[in-house]
Amino acid sequence: MASVTLDNIQKVYPNGFKAIHGVNVDIQDGEFLVLVGPSGCGKSTLLRMIAGLETVSDGTMKIGERVVNKMEPSKRDIAMVFQNYALYPHMSVYNNMAYGLKIMGLSKAEINERVQAVAATLELTEEQLSRKPRELSGGQRQRVAMGRAIVREPSVFLFDEPLSNLDAKLRVQMRLEIRRLQERLGITSVYVTHDQVEAMTLGHRLMVLNSGNVEQLGTPIELYERPASLFVAGFIGSPAMNLIDKKVGANGTSIALASGIDLELDSSKLKSYQGKDIVLGVRPEHLELATGADKALPLTVTLVEHLGADTLVHGHFGEDQTDLTLRQSGVQSVKAGDVLPVSIVKENIHIFDPQTERRIDL
């Protein structure tokens, strides 16, 4: 058990490319932190720096109370699960799990005890333990990779997109298993993924990375309810948040949605944006079908996706060609070409500065 502290961690490659621009985070003992971001954002690099597989260019990294900047991976008391599992192909499943323990110098009896216990936890049968990794299915290999990590009884688990090679159904199942396992073992975990659903469901906290910068760090609900930047707003939530370019009215307290329809705000925070552009964000699930005739926006439907539980309606407001998504629960009998009256509620909007791309709090 240990906390992980990153203090202004930076990574600069020898060719001058700066992959990580100063990350500060204090991962609590037993916390599950998810690093999420698009490919190339530096999330894997950051994880590999914690693992000791990449050098730290600047800053201080601590696991527990020890500074580990220059420490070998095996000395850091960590275990890692790789995307392609990285099981030793010539060793049986048992030996894959036992290899690290052998190097630690544990007795045969103790190794056997630990491996059997972990195998039981992960529901690996005796017969599977004697097989070679290539004779297992993807899900089973994934389990073995986790087993190899658990059996070391590390202070920190590192996961590098462990579910991305599995099919969709298995992914959901393994996701739950990882969650349960982490809660039961209570081991500090850092998990890298580009899948925001995985991130939202697994993490106690999420760190959204974008080209080596931390966009936001917070609980899944904080990120969902108060995205700190346009990037986070677009990244968290599926389907993505609708982002529409709008102007603040001359009075500084309303946003002109369409000609003749203004959204009145109770706040005076937009005073300095009088007559200027802002980006208005509304999540698809927060766009509502207007019941009365009060200030409804006409949404011209271009495409309808039926998911069964939900219906996603794509369309745009009149002349404004920005593509919008509206999410309605249940099966809706809407078809392309329809015009739906849609209302925007001011409690559910997000406003961003188009220049700084940061959130403007109301």
């Binding site: 991976p73 095996s74 392609n84 990285a86 190899r148 070391r152």
Partner: protein, 282 residues
Amino acid sequence: MIENRPILKILSHLILITGVATVAFPIWITIVAASHGEARMTELPLPLWPGGHFLENLDIALNQGLWGGDGTGVGFMLFNSMIMAMMIAVGKITISLMSAFAIVYFRFPFRMGFFWMIFVTLMLPVEVRILPTFEVVANLEMLNTFWGLTIPLIASATATFMFRQVFLTVPDELLEAARIDGAGPLRFFFDILIPMSRTSIAALFVILFIYGWNQYLWPLLITTDQDMFTIVMQIKKLLEGGEEAPQWHLVMMTTLLAMLPPVVVVVFMQKLFVQGLTETEK
């Protein structure tokens, strides 16, 4: 071929059979000649079917040698050849594994420089550097020793290059997983890399064993003591009978003996050999 045309079938079989016969006929003649007595081999036409002196000839060739037995049968030469071929094959594999490991997994100054230096030696086989190499071996007093027979032949660019390619296909994650498991470079080398290269090592062993076994020029140069002769050079010497006619039945028997070990190696390691050259999945 999907079409079923009898004439084409016959023709293609004819070509294949001709090919097989062309390769197999000389070997057949060797076996036949090795099984006849001395007298029959001097008569014309030469026999095409085996005779009844096979075991007798085998005994003479192995234990007595030519011309009524001067005590130098080729039995010990088979042994010499075996030691030489094994030392060359094992030595080449060991050195190449280590140098490929260094080149692929370690970052040291002039790494690629060293790699290309090794690579360039492909152009410098023993035949090209024979005088300086002989000089070195002679100065080290390794003439007429197994070390002298094998060491100059051991450095191998081909094997180094091949192992480099094999190591490059090993996923980086395996190295990283091993590092997290606490395996140092040597452990990684012995516990993971070598077992993973098993089939390639076997394939290379077959090739290198035959290469070592078939050495002719180098053993001829550095062995003057008959105790160190190898069987391949002995075949040539058997024909230098001075005034007398060559004893073909014994020459052929010796040839047969010389052919045998490579055949055995190929037959028994065929499966690994094919796997090692074709397997791509790691």
